[in-house]
């Protein structure tokens, strides 16, 4: 074990020395996952809000379904997206397989249910609080959606972070649709998988530490933004 600790320190030093190749991998990871969260938010937040304020038959079942889809296995999503994007698949002509775009699509599928389900929860609570007030202003149920989304924006940051955490950490989907191609679709998690399979366990673990550090940094930045927004709001209300 002592030997392993030394190896780990060496690997970590190597990484901190600022390897250009590793930097490109980190940036690609961030690019893919941040775009995926952005698109998933554009779809998932209105969807979650509609589920929260809407009253239609089958709503209960839909809520259960969206909640359940939070647990979509990445490898299954990867396989489905592969079958869609393969040259033999329905979207094969787009030639998206083994590109970062394919990885973004797979992560959007994974992350959208998480953001939708958590948004629904946030908006439902706000709706219960303000529904009467807004109805008295003559707003229809669906017209309240943008208002509620704006009002709940700080709480909704948590939904985005949960989605980002899922996206940046998963390997099962991106390795199938991205192919882990060096300099093209290799991201942090697929690099870790590759180094593990080469038996470079210390290097893989050190890369894992970098991945965690990135996740912590992103979360800290967002929580800082949230706090500042809260303070500003409090000052305005004072």
């Amino acid at each position: 074990m002592q030997e392993f600790a030394q190896e780990f320190r060496d690997a970590f030093a190597l990484i901190l020395a600022g390897d250009a190749e590793l930097l490109a991998i980190v940036l690609l990871s961030l690019r893919v996952s941040l775009f995926a969260v952005f698109f998933a938010a554009v779809i998932g937040m209105p969807l979650g809000a509609a589920l929260a304020v809407g009253r239609f038959p089958g709503r209960g079942a839909l809520v259960v379904l969206v909640n359940a889809l939070m647990g979509l296995p990445p490898v299954v999503v990867g396989l489905l997206v592969y079958l869609m994007l393969s040259r033999s698949g329905p979207l094969g002509v787009l030639q998206l397989l083994y590109t970062p775009t394919a990885m973004i699509i797979a992560q959007v599928v994974l992350v959208t249910p998480i953001i939708a389900a958590l948004s629904r929860q946030v908006i439902e609570m706000l709706d219960a609080e303000y529904a009467e007030q807004m109805r008295s202003l003559g707003l229809s149920r669906f017209a309240t959606v943008p208002v509620l989304l704006w009002d709940g924006r700080i709480a909704l940051l948590t939904a985005l972070l949960a989605g980002f955490g899922r996206a940046i950490a998963e390997v099962g989907a991106v390795i199938i649709v991205g192919g882990n191609i060096n300099h093209v679709t290799r991201v942090m998690t697929t690099t870790i998988a590759l180094e593990t399979s080469k038996g470079n366990l210390a290097l893989a673990l050190a890369l894992g530490a970098v991945l965690i550090a990135i996740a912590v940094t992103v979360n800290a930045l967002v929580s800082l933004l949230g706090q500042r927004a809260e303070v500003r709001e409090a000052m305005r209300n004072a």
Binding site: R31, S86, I104, G179, L194, T196, K198, G199
Partner: protein, 270 residues
């Protein structure tokens, strides 16, 4: 309005995913051993510099590589399971198969050697001994080239591994490296190609037990995916890569790759 949104979304997605790499590239469906051993990293830069064609390698098990190529998701197939490769060509998915290089498989196992096979040169006898000792054996279990080779030897030994599955015979369903990690962790025997073995950094107390049997020969072949089946195949660039690989420059590049002073692959294109 709705259509506009979809269009905007598609455009944004395209920009988000835009690859900054060159237009001219081919996708090679290959096997984990060529990548994990470091061979491709060693030989590809020379071809890319000379031809201006970027080679994008998807490294999976041979079974999956052939499946992906059958779906048209690659221009060139570089794998190691001759029978399956010939079938791929015979069914019209590939244009023609060329020998590229070879190395050999080795049977590795724990120093303790519970089946007492160390130093042997008969892989079939060794597998029989492992089966009668019921010593743990880690199999790829993933339809890869190595897995196919292993199953052939079990058959020769007259051992029904399906019956032992979950007992002493453990199918990992993963790549060579993951299987070696598992074998090292639980003191199991395993069949591996020598290139992956030499490059593998987590050997633990595993050692080579059996080597040098003619039946452990491991041939790699290269095939252009048939553009008549899949019009998207970049036939010209793919053929250029194949010509280079089986030509003097590619063959010399393969021979020049060594690790710890050992040559990992031996070129034998005709």
């Amino acid at each position: 309005m709705f259509v506009t949104w979809i269009r905007a979304g598609a455009l944004a997605l395209a920009m988000a995913g835009a690859a900054q790499a060159a237009e001219d590239f081919i996708v090679v469906q290959s096997t984990t051993s060529t990548q994990n051993s470091g061979l491709l990293d060693h030989i590809l830069p020379a071809f890319e510099a000379e031809s201006g064609i970027e080679v994008r390698v998807v490294a999976v098990g041979t079974g999956q590589a052939i499946k992906n190529a059958t779906n048209g998701d690659g221009d060139v197939l570089l794998v190691h399971a001759k029978a399956a490769e010939e079938k791929f060509v015979a069914e019209g998915w590939g244009v023609q198969r060329f020998d590229v290089m070879y190395n050999d498989f080795v049977l590795v196992g724990p120093v303790a050697d519970p089946a007492g096979i160390k130093g042997g040169a008969d892989v079939v006898a060794a597998l029989s001994a492992i089966a009668s000792a019921q010593a743990p054996f880690a199999s790829r279990g993933d339809d890869s080239g190595t897995h196919k080779a292993e199953l052939r030897h079990w058959q020769s030994a007259g051992v029904d591994v399906a019956a032992a599955s979950g007992g002493w015979y453990r199918e990992t369903g993963s790549g060579m490296g993951a299987t070696l990690n598992l074998a090292a962790g639980m003191g199991a025997y395993a069949l591996t190609d020598r290139a992956t073995w030499i490059a593998f950094a987590n050997k633990g107390d595993l050692e080579v037990m059996v080597e040098g049997d003619d039946r452990l020969f491991n041939q790699y072949g290269v095939i252009l995916v048939n553009p008549e089946k899949h019009p998207g195949v970049k036939a010209e660039a793919g053929q250029k890569f194949i010509d280079w690989l089986i030509g003097p420059d590619g063959q010399a590049a393969i021979a020049s790759y060594t690790l710890d002073g050992q040559q990992l692959f031996f070129p034998n294109a005709r």
